[in-house]
Symmetry: C2
Subunit: 113 residues, 2 copies
């Protein structure tokens, strides 16, 4: 079991801002998941991986693929008071779910640096 | 209601690593909180603020103050496979709890950039 959070790197979010957005996705993804996936992930130590994609189109495409695959999905839009325009999608939480099921959608993405 | 996550800035964590640690603290803090605080925070839209402190000693002192004040506290130690030594404390989640109760502990800290 794991959870991945994919960030749109093209936004160039400052690190503190990005961390808050990733945390929104992690918490929201957990709350969106069915009870058995929540429990399995907690027992596994709640592993999380932060990945990156290169555009908003790519972010939307990943969210759609994950949804179609039946994975828990949590797309985060920024409130937009400071860094980016209001409503800008910043990242998407995928999972918690089985590692192989998540890798089928995000397996080609690189780690966020 | 809000939750803050305080990061030890002195570690110089790479942004992606920091985001994962902050997400651990956010999820762990939520799970550590009593049911009524969980519910109040969810209803408020789960506001999160990422702050910074300058040393491990300061991080520990904040965690202790928050614990003494009866706030939900989640100290995160890195598994340490890559960037920092195993077991290094990276950040602490404080809350969810009432804004004034959290500000009494973290009110003087600056936003993580």
């Amino acid at each position: 079991m794991k959870q991945v959070i994919v960030v749109n790197e093209a936004l160039g979010l400052p690190p503190g801002k990005m961390a808050a957005q990733v945390a929104h996705a992690a918490v929201g993804g957990l709350l969106n998941a069915p009870r058995d996936k929540q429990a399995g992930w907690l027992q596994a130590g709640m592993p999380k991986v932060v990945l990156r994609c290169g555009s908003q189109d790519e972010l939307f495409a990943l969210a759609e693929q994950a949804q179609a695959a039946g994975l828990p999905v949590m797309l985060i839009r920024d409130a937009g008071r400071t860094v980016v325009e209001a409503g800008t999608p910043t990242c998407v939480g995928i999972g918690p779910d089985e590692i192989s099921r998540i890798d089928a959608v995000t397996g080609s993405l690189k780690l966020m640096r």
